[in-house]
């Protein structure tokens, strides 16, 4: 079946604008994760959904970042009033269930550039 997909693959925006990044997990995967990867670093956890609810949003850097998963499948990461420091690759991953017991699969990422 299809893997995790993310759109857009690239997004260039201006400082202060609002952006939405979309993640479509593997069908049947109840757990969904968002990460941010800066150049030369490993991915950093942002938020974890189990079903429709955010089980852990402790990695969101501030209140400009928000994510939803209204029907327990597709998720959208929303960033308000973007800043140049938000530039990074945003990765989404999904797993059958909690990742303590399940393998996690990643999408190709969205490269966000804030000018």
């Amino acid at each position: 079946g299809a893997g995790v997909s993310q759109t857009p693959s690239n997004k260039v925006t201006e400082k202060g604008k609002y952006v939405e990044l979309r993640c479509d997990p593997i069908s049947g995967h109840t757990a969904l994760y968002w990460y941010r990867q800066s150049l030369g670093q490993g991915p950093e956890f942002l938020i974890y959904f189990q079903g429709t609810g955010a089980a852990d949003d402790s990695g969101l850097p501030n209140d400009r970042f928000f994510a939803v998963r209204p029907e327990g499948s597709v998720s959208t990461l929303k960033i308000q009033r973007t800043e140049r420091g938000d530039s990074a690759v945003y990765l989404c991953a999904s797993s059958l269930g909690p990742t303590s017991y399940n393998e996690q699969f990643f999408g190709p990422g969205t490269r966000l550039t804030v000018l």
């Binding site: 030369g40 956890f45 852990d56 303590s100 699969f105 190709p108 990422g109």
Partner: protein
């Protein structure tokens, strides 16, 4: 939270050489995965290995959970093995923590 340390940070090898990448974690993890990030940024699953040894072609991995480390072995390296290798551990809160990666460059 747990810390995940990978070594070496960088590795340059001639094609055909073997290599061992190491991942140490500061506390017990429920799970461990190895990934290869290709030049296009895609994270490719290599091993899901909370404990024991697994092999897949030229690659194998061993996790010794009681001693808090995992090893990734690459034999007969090929140029397509180049990229960044990440290990990631899962803590008690189901949060996956990545190391900073090992950058592998295989010379033809």
């Amino acid at each position: 939270g747990i810390q995940v340390e990978q070594s070496p940070p960088d590795l340059i090898l001639q094609e055909g050489a073997n290599s061992t990448l190491r991942c140490n974690f500061s506390d017990s993890v429920n799970n461990l995965q190895w990934f290869h990030q290709n030049p296009w940024g895609q994270l490719i699953n290599l091993f899901y290995i909370p404990s024991g040894t697994k092999q897949n072609g030229r690659l194998s991995a061993t996790t010794v959970a009681t001693e808090r480390y995992s090893l990734l072995y690459i034999s007969s390296s090929q140029t397509t093995d180049s990229g960044v290798y990440f290990c990631a551990g899962v803590n008690r809160d189901d949060k996956i923590i990545f190391g900073k990666g090992t950058r592998l460059h295989i010379l033809p």
